[in-house]
Point group: D2
Chain length 342, copies 4
Amino acid sequence: MPNSDPIKPLRVGLIGGGRIGKVHAQSLKRVGAVIEIIADPVGDVAETVAGEYGISKWSKNASDVFCADIDAVIICSPTALHAEHIVEAAKHKKHIFCEKPIDFSVAVVNNAIKAVDDAGVKLMIGFNRRFDANFARIKQAINRDEIGKVSMLRITSRDPSPPPIEYVKVSGGLFCDMTIHDFDMARFLIGGEVEEVYAMAQSNDPNIEAVGDIDTAIVLLKFHNGVICNIENSRKAVFGYDQRVEALGSKGSVNCGNIHPNQVVVSTQESVRRDLPLYFFLERYMDAYVKEMEEFVRVCTTDAPVPVGGDAGREALLLALAANRSLAENRPVKVEELRKLA
Amino acid sequence: MPNSDPIKPLRVGLIGGGRIGKVHAQSLKRVGAVIEIIADPVGDVAETVAGEYGISKWSKNASDVFCADIDAVIICSPTALHAEHIVEAAKHKKHIFCEKPIDFSVAVVNNAIKAVDDAGVKLMIGFNRRFDANFARIKQAINRDEIGKVSMLRITSRDPSPPPIEYVKVSGGLFCDMTIHDFDMARFLIGGEVEEVYAMAQSNDPNIEAVGDIDTAIVLLKFHNGVICNIENSRKAVFGYDQRVEALGSKGSVNCGNIHPNQVVVSTQESVRRDLPLYFFLERYMDAYVKEMEEFVRVCTTDAPVPVGGDAGREALLLALAANRSLAENRPVKVEELRKLA
Amino acid sequence: MPNSDPIKPLRVGLIGGGRIGKVHAQSLKRVGAVIEIIADPVGDVAETVAGEYGISKWSKNASDVFCADIDAVIICSPTALHAEHIVEAAKHKKHIFCEKPIDFSVAVVNNAIKAVDDAGVKLMIGFNRRFDANFARIKQAINRDEIGKVSMLRITSRDPSPPPIEYVKVSGGLFCDMTIHDFDMARFLIGGEVEEVYAMAQSNDPNIEAVGDIDTAIVLLKFHNGVICNIENSRKAVFGYDQRVEALGSKGSVNCGNIHPNQVVVSTQESVRRDLPLYFFLERYMDAYVKEMEEFVRVCTTDAPVPVGGDAGREALLLALAANRSLAENRPVKVEELRKLA
Amino acid sequence: MPNSDPIKPLRVGLIGGGRIGKVHAQSLKRVGAVIEIIADPVGDVAETVAGEYGISKWSKNASDVFCADIDAVIICSPTALHAEHIVEAAKHKKHIFCEKPIDFSVAVVNNAIKAVDDAGVKLMIGFNRRFDANFARIKQAINRDEIGKVSMLRITSRDPSPPPIEYVKVSGGLFCDMTIHDFDMARFLIGGEVEEVYAMAQSNDPNIEAVGDIDTAIVLLKFHNGVICNIENSRKAVFGYDQRVEALGSKGSVNCGNIHPNQVVVSTQESVRRDLPLYFFLERYMDAYVKEMEEFVRVCTTDAPVPVGGDAGREALLLALAANRSLAENRPVKVEELRKLA
């Protein structure tokens, strides 16, 4: 009587118990997956997180995860280890969820994707914003032809305050660290590929300038289908996380504002005002993180295709590298230039 | 060759050179009417206003206006003189625009209306809000059946700060002075008559309480057609003139917010804020005043019916008197009770 | 080694596996409480819900819940059984969460409260809206003196569509069933008691009229501290759940709009439009329900006072009964009239 | 007793009775200037417009305007004649208001400016948007340090529909015809000069493509002070004139939405919607046009400096030419390249 069996929950292993690892642990619990094991090499992080989220096994060693009796691996290790962990997980025939970016090298990324393909497992990349209700609704408006053929796209993406300078140093630079989400969003919304990239940027924070990075940028993308897109980035929008999108099409436009913690307006003799928008990604994208894990579980337990696969990781990286080159050489750069290098 | 003659501009006389008299003088110029004469008994007001607006004749005596070679009279005298001036203007066969309220006595109002009817001239009452773009759009939404059959109506009507206490004393009380506009708006929007009135009120300003008036009130109206309406009044909305309407119908709702001087939003570490709404009636209703005069000119120079006639003045007054009685006796009051008394 | 013991989760029993029972079951899981048992007399509801939410015991009999080894009871039975279940739970020394209203009789409510007090257990009433982020922020604005001394309060509370007529028949009428939430909200926000109530109402739906109920109402409240409040109710706001509050004070005003599923605006040749607000209470108040259970757990596991106790249930009921009488007799009704009857 | 003389109104002559000529005629009347003469070579345009606006003299010949007994000239002739008319007016010692652009050649523009300087008359260029309440408020926010040091600026500027193709052909191209307003706005708001320009563009309308022009563009500006700016242009925003600005600074951001004809929101079972924004420049900028003329009159009758002089005309033109070159050569272009060519 197989019908009377309940659906078996997905069994996952978690690599990395840092901030994003804990976010995923919480989401996985919400969507009914079972975290069998967590690994983290730092101090007693693995044990502590295991305690917090009721995970029965912990280890300092990622290889204990790969060897565990699980269906899938959630990779939240530092970027430098992502590709290696993907390859290892693929070898052990586990489905894989990996945080962005896969790597800063296209060749390394391609290698990881090949390992996944060879193993026949599924790989989903952590571009969480695709699962945000605002951006999903904009995608829907485009798909449903509510605004006709899209001609322009703008992505505004600004953090409330710069990360610690130690982080900036190893971040891979603004375009690989931060804009990479926007590159993916542009591809997601337009449903096509970019031909050319031009970047104009500035460092307004002397500390960021001192380590050779930028904190303020506009990146232009020209898609093969003629859409032109501008991405506005800043490390410092003091009023809060600034995450908006606007598309113009032949039949109208669609845009979204930021999300506020409430709809309350206070009017006094001085002003008519609202509370600030949600402060940062943990506040703004908490629902999106849950939806993302829900989707990963669905993908691992059915025949459903992966909505954000390794290709998405590679293409976003190529755009980031093209933006880096555009900035370095102050000229528009074709994406193919970068692809050939890989 | 009469066809080659240009349309002769309307020739008007203005009685009263106070604040509202000057507003109308300016609007009349904008809409191409010619103000032939102004009368005001106070000091050198008539002469000064004549100079400001290029009016060729002035007088201290209203009778000079009635006898002048003009088509219409604009009555901006104190309320106590409105009815007398209407009667006199009617006798001289002039069309009449009169500020609200006509009088605080229904009998006196009826008498003035009779004089107008007997003379066969036109009388338009200064319920300027009917010509405001927001409220006109709400009326249109109702008329065009955008929200179906209306079941509830709310009118929010709050001044930024109380008038001088000397004015309050002679104002006729909140309902006759301020709410009268809202009573007219309710009748205008619903297109029907009120059966019953209930008022709940309070004095929050001790000076207003000292002279026996109120400054905070909610008035409920039950229309014969079943619509229930609430009017929210306050003499003190410190953020600015609060003039909003909301109607609920079987197919939806319609509402309007206040009007701001600009659409600018400033976001800082403290708040997301806008500048205050337009401060008071001169700022908010300037366009409506121009439209009102445009309409009066149109009515006087064509066969068009008067959009806001003497009846509108009387019915709004009846509602104000019913609200006064409801408050005095703390009970719902039928409008017919007041009508019979007149 | 007491420090090494984890905090013991609250053990609860759930009475009633209907819509709201399931909402609470889900919230209780989210906040870490353990549901030990569920009882529901209807068909296989108890067993089914037990399966859905991983509850180990189920019964058709509420008495099995009272006798179970639990700390608290969640009462989601029909209103007619609320008081009886409260009394029984109190006897068994369980803390109690009970859905609103406790009963339609003040005497019965008082008796239930007495049983709770005698037993020394805690009773929390399910006025979930107090835990909504919008209304909590409005309360905060008032408490923090952002708008000065409050003079007027408006509560707009409209359902998207009427309940089945069979439900209307046993609902206790609009004021006891629906407005009771708004009565509680008014008391919560003003932090004081009401002196007098006046209700104006209408049935726009002939089916509702046929069973002697109303579907459209405005209720005025006069508080002892002078605040005047209007509550706007309708069973039919076709655009979605309409849940807004606005307060006017001596230093400004505070209001909140409805909550939409996204911040997306679509502009076309026809209009500039948003998606509809959240449809009904399950969508709008899901976060509030979680917060409510979180608060109940906190209250049961600490010395914290109950934020919404039996008194709140009784006072809201008194206001509903006063509104009923006001409507029946078409006159303002003092709350004390009703209290004396009890 | 010269003090008793009223201020003599400014006497102006109007060259060109087309759409914008009539807009200025109306504004000049509103602000109390006297239009002594109008010239237009086309058919009976001069006579007709003279009749409409009560102008006593008319001519087919612009030279009749220069020779008239007037204080100032309003040049609304076709762009090809602007510079010639400026030079002629300067020779006749008239103050000059000239529509944008002065000319498509920087050398010609410089020559016209020189003639003005030599004659010691005043020249004001018709960048009307500077006088719009929204943009003036944004300028104020920047000047008052409400948002700190500006790092990014975005100007969205889209027409509701493309002009007739015959107009496009002689328009000088999108950047000289349309974006020129945005170039001026960028300089106005930032209060500095641009170093480098990069343009990405597209023709979505085949008719516009056929005549070698573009209809969709993003232009990036890098200011000497480090601000980066993006201008978003389209000839086709079907929902109406899309005129918005957003600036990000170290202490916050400021932005403005479009202006709607009313604040009314209609909520139905389908959507929550507003009427479209003001359709095009005549609707959106009517108040700005009046303010512009008010300012011109003030400048001509006092010692006040010109707020938007010939320099502003030249600098905006240089940016347009740089954008043209950037597009033609697909590379960032320094403004100095263009200046040197002049």
